[in-house]
């Protein structure tokens, strides 16, 4: 294991300040609207000290912890997708000037973003969106500009949420790559502190400016113990089998109709999912017809319009829309991008207004096969 350092809370404050000085907009966890959301943070006081979250299918509550931890919760309703792959974005505008039409493409934003408190599952989600949005032949310049300059401070989870299942997806709770600095929150003598791991030259350069000292063997072990404890307390697990093949074998399973009885096709799951990337474009023009523009916005495979082609929607029934979503996440994503499209963050479970649980749906199909198998075995 590489060398690690320790800084106390003053070190974290100094980190936020150093990033601001370098011109970064620092975004991190803070309390807003009864949840832990991601927003601008300027000082330690903006972080949700002493708070945690209770998460279950369709249920989220803020709660107090009995300590003063700054990162003692799992992920909230928003993800970093909000900042890298914006919900609404104008792509271009056009204006009629005499006989000419002047088209102006929206220039990519120049804002430099620093993310504080990125969890392991979220690092994997960002890696997935990188692959989709800038890793192929067609590069999204807006995502690219935000992503390339971004500074990432990861946090190894000290608490697993009730709907987390990163362990079974091999995506957490330890941050292994894709960060500049990674922190593990520790209780040190005389207050809280952080075990710091460097993940990039930019991270090393920044750390050198902060008040830190090398970590002891014992402190490094403590850090590992925190992560191990979190890994052992996952709220959920994806069944341990080849899900890709399982779902492809069961495209006509009766469970799709059963889940469609409950599913509202409201699209919350896709909106909160940190890997879902689908968008639609909308054209606008003013009443006089002199100006027009095109806007891109998040869309979802749960809407009828999204699969509308000449003559109607390809997926009129909710069963086919739920199946499209789940099989894409867990199965066809492998064919398309070489990995799973799910990182086990649990957001779709918590924020589904009727508590539909992707691990439970998978397990239902898996269990039904096992039952059948057992029955076959007997006969």
């Amino acid at each position: 294991m590489s060398e690690r350092s320790i800084f106390r809370e003053e070190g974290l404050q100094a980190l936020i300040e150093a990033l601001s000085r370098r011109g970064f907009r620092v975004i991190g966890p803070t309390i807003g609207d009864g949840a832990i959301i991601y927003d601008d943070v300027e000082a330690l006081g903006d972080l949700p000290r002493g708070y945690t979250d209770e998460q279950e299918a369709g249920r989220y509550r803020l709660a107090r912890r009995d300590d003063a931890a700054l990162f003692g919760y799992a992920v909230g309703p928003q993800s970093w997708k909000r900042f890298l792959h914006q919900p609404l974005l104008r792509l271009w505008r056009a204006e009629r000037k005499g006989q000419d039409v002047i088209v102006e493409a929206e220039p990519p934003a120049t804002e430099k973003l620093a993310f504080l408190g990125v969890r392991a599952c979220e690092l994997h989600a960002i890696e997935i969106q990188d692959r989709v949005l800038i890793g192929g032949d067609y590069v999204d310049p807006h995502y690219e500009s935000k992503r390339e300059g971004a500074f990432i401070v990861a946090v190894n989870c000290g608490t697993a949420g009730g709907t987390c299942f990163c362990v079974s997806m091999n995506t957490g709770p330890r941050a292994t790559r894709g960060f500049d600095l990674a922190l593990t929150e520790l209780t040190l003598e005389g207050g809280n502190g952080f075990l710091v791991e460097v993940g990039s030259p930019a991270g090393a350069e920044l750390l050198a400016e902060l008040p830190s000292r090398p970590a002891s063997r014992e402190e490094m072990d403590d850090g590992d113990a925190v992560v191990a404890r979190t890994a052992a307390s996952m709220g959920r697990a994806m069944p341990a089998e080849d899900i890709h093949a399982l779902l492809m074998r069961n495209l006509d399973h009766e469970r799709w109709d059963e889940v469609a009885q409950r599913c509202l096709s409201c699209a919350n799951c896709t909106m909160v999912c940190p890997t879902c990337f689908c968008t639609s474009v909308e054209d606008h023009n003013d009443l006089s017809g002199a100006e027009s523009s095109r806007t891109r916005r998040w869309d979802s495979c749960f809407t009828m319009d999204y699969s509308y082609i000449h003559g109607g929607s390809v997926r009129p029934g909710v069963a086919s829309r739920y199946r499209q979503w789940m099989t894409h996440k867990l199965s066809t994503w492998f064919d398309q991008f070489g990995t799973s499209g799910c990182v086990g963050c649990g957001r779709c479970i918590t924020w589904c207004p009727v508590g539909i649980d992707i691990t439970e749906e998978t397990r239902a199909i898996s269990d039904s096969e096992k039952l059948l198998g057992a029955a076959d075995g007997k006969s």
């Binding site: 509550r61 606008h284 998040w298 809407t303 009727v354």
Partner: protein, 264 residues
């Protein structure tokens, strides 16, 4: 459209509170900009005679509640190249469609000293139940931005931006925290048509369903969850019965719980 002639826009009023027309007046700045390019005529409910010619685009507010209305809408349709209904009254019968669940004569007897003077139909119905409609703009009241977009879209010959998906999508685009998940506040957003910009959830309230049912709504499933949040049969009967009470998916769901309640 004839390029040399200004397009004619007619605004027609049926049974309604005028709220949607207020949204139209609220578009003053946008409308003034094109005042030279378009003729706008307003026809209040009582208008008789003096209506001549054909309208390129008719905006119809209000529901049909009298025999006179039922005839007038036929004439409006004949005079309109495109007919767009605006608001919950015109599109679903409005709040006055609560009469459809009761005996209107009984209502009139309670409210009026001389109910014999009241000439009204037994039900309040949407414009589309009487004539073909080219487009229905939802909302109680309609959203000003959507109205401008629909008029601009019809003038430009493009598709209006009025997606039929859930209010939840608007909520998430805005970055709201879901009030149902985080606060156990009952919300009709998951079965309601987008358009308001998730107004109520943005102020920590549940959605009241002003824009009516979304595409493929699943109210029975939502009701199960709402019951879990503490709503009884009576409350479920009522929650779907407001501005869009007569929109079929809401009506059916409301009646299902009403029947349960009356059984019990």
């Amino acid at each position: 459209m004839d390029a040399t002639k200004k397009p004619r826009l007619g605004v027609w009023k049926f049974a309604s509170c005028d709220g949607c027309q207020l949204s139209l007046l609220d578009c003053e700045d946008e409308l003034l900009a094109i005042a030279g390019a378009i003729d706008i005529a307003y026809f209040p409910e009582a208008t008789r005679g003096e209506i001549s010619g054909v309208y390129d685009l008719s905006l119809v507010e209000g529901s049909v509640t009298t025999a006179h209305d039922a005839e007038r809408i036929l004439d409006v349709r004949k005079r309109s190249k495109k007919l767009v209904t605006i608001g919950a009254c015109a599109t679903a019968g409005g709040i006055q469609a609560l009469r459809n669940f009761a005996d209107v004569r009984e209502y009139a007897a309670i409210v009026y000293a001389h109910p014999e003077y009241i000439h009204t139909l037994a039900a309040s119905t949407a414009i589309a139940e009487h004539v073909p409609v080219d487009f229905e703009l939802r909302g109680c009241p309609i959203n000003k931005g959507q109205l401008v977009d629909v008029v601009a879209a019809f003038l430009a010959g493009r598709r209006p931006n009025t997606p039929a998906h859930s209010v939840c999508i608007e909520c998430k685009l805005k970055g709201n925290v879901c009030v149902m998940v985080a606060r156990a506040t009952p919300c009709l957003g998951p079965v309601t048509h987008a358009g308001c910009g998730a107004l109520c959830p943005s102020y920590d309230r549940g959605c009241y369903g002003c824009f009516g049912p979304k595409e493929t709504p699943n109210a029975p499933s939502l009701s199960v969850w709402l019951a879990g949040l503490g709503m009884d049969e009576k409350a479920l009967e009522r929650v779907y019965r407001s501005f869009n009470a007569n929109a079929e998916p809401f009506r059916n769901e409301s009646e299902r719980h009403g029947a349960q309640d009356h059984k019990g």
